[in-house]
């Protein structure tokens, strides 16, 4: 009779060993426990505690610094780009700023000057 390799023999023996299944009640209890744990977790998810915890912690400092830099850059550039309406810029180094606001006295004055012009 040829001798078998001991590893193979023990592997075959143990792999074919049947001892039955665990109790079904365990599965039910575990699922119920998971459900309980999960329901308490969902309450926590509604709060901002974890977000503020992350915000004021030392973790992800690079990311936070980057975000703040981007916000600052955008706000500064926004003010720089904003051109006042009603300003006329000239290219010949003479900068004339006229505020085109309706002024009733100017109208009266111009009407008077027109009248005097017509009398003359």
């Amino acid at each position: 009779m040829t001798k078998k390799n001991s590893d193979q023999l023990f592997t075959d023996l143990l792999r074919n060993d049947r001892i039955g299944e665990p109790s079904k009640a365990i599965e039910d209890r575990l699922m119920y426990s998971f459900l309980l744990k999960n329901s308490s977790m969902k309450l926590k998810q509604n709060s901002f505690a974890s977000f503020f915890g992350w915000l004021f912690s030392v973790q992800s400092l690079g990311l936070k610094t980057g975000l703040v830099s981007v916000i600052l850059f955008v706000s500064v550039m926004n003010n720089q780009i904003n051109i006042d309406s009603g300003t006329i810029s000239c290219t010949d180094t003479i900068f004339a700023k006229r505020v085109l606001v309706a002024d009733s006295t100017s109208f009266i004055q111009s009407i008077d000057s027109l009248r005097t012009d017509s009398l003359n």
Binding site: M1, L14, L30, M41
Partner: protein, 192 residues
């Protein structure tokens, strides 16, 4: 999401990530994947006691429910799960040792009358093997089970038991040697 789950088999690590975020379907999947293996391990490690094996199985998965984040996804899940199970068995042996000090008269000894039988059925042989391994101690039994039942490599067994590979090899060799010596049937059947 539901359709994706039906079509795809998730890895253990992926299921664990879903469990951390409270996915019960993932937990159910992981339980069904491992319940029989873990039950067998506890059954054989704790002296063939089905009730205790059930209790330990429940306790093991309760740990997973309570602290799923304790699993590091960088390591293989089954190695981690068996190491947790093995630590639970070790704690149980310690408790038994303490109890034994108070109950010295009731020390259980395996019945070894059958040892010299020359022909046995596979079921009987398994019982004989574990009765023989009981004489060696739990550390030999755990290495034997993990290697031959679960099919872990020597390196993985060493990781689970937190031992050097050489120690695992020597335990397996010593267990096989003792089995060959004790069981007449095996002596004729195997070569070490």
């Amino acid at each position: 999401m539901i359709f994706r789950r039906k079509n795809r088999e998730y890895s253990d690590a992926e299921l664990m990530q879903q469990i951390v975020s409270g996915d019960q379907v993932a937990f159910n999947g992981l339980y069904h994947r491992y319940k029989d293996r873990m039950y067998y391990y506890f059954y054989r490690m704790l002296g063939n006691a089905s009730e205790q094996a059930n209790d330990f199985l429940q306790e093991l998965f309760m740990k997973l429910i309570e602290k799923p984040e304790s699993y590091n996804t960088a390591y293989p899940f089954q190695t981690w799960l068996f190491s947790v199970a093995n630590n639970m068995c070790k704690n149980e042996y310690r408790r038994r040792e303490v109890r034994k000090e108070y109950q010295t008269s009731e020390v259980w000894r395996p019945n070894l009358d059958y040892m010299n039988d020359t022909s046995v059925e596979p079921e009987q042989l398994i019982e004989k093997i574990f009765a023989t391994l009981d004489q060696l101690g739990e550390e030999h039994r755990s290495a034997f089970l993990l290697r031959y039942r679960e099919g872990f490599s020597i390196k993985e067994v060493a990781e689970i038991l937190a031992l050097p590979e050489g120690t695992v090899k020597s335990r397996l060799f010593y267990a096989k040697k003792m089995l060959a010596e004790k069981l007449e049937y095996l002596k004729d059947e195997i070569e070490l």
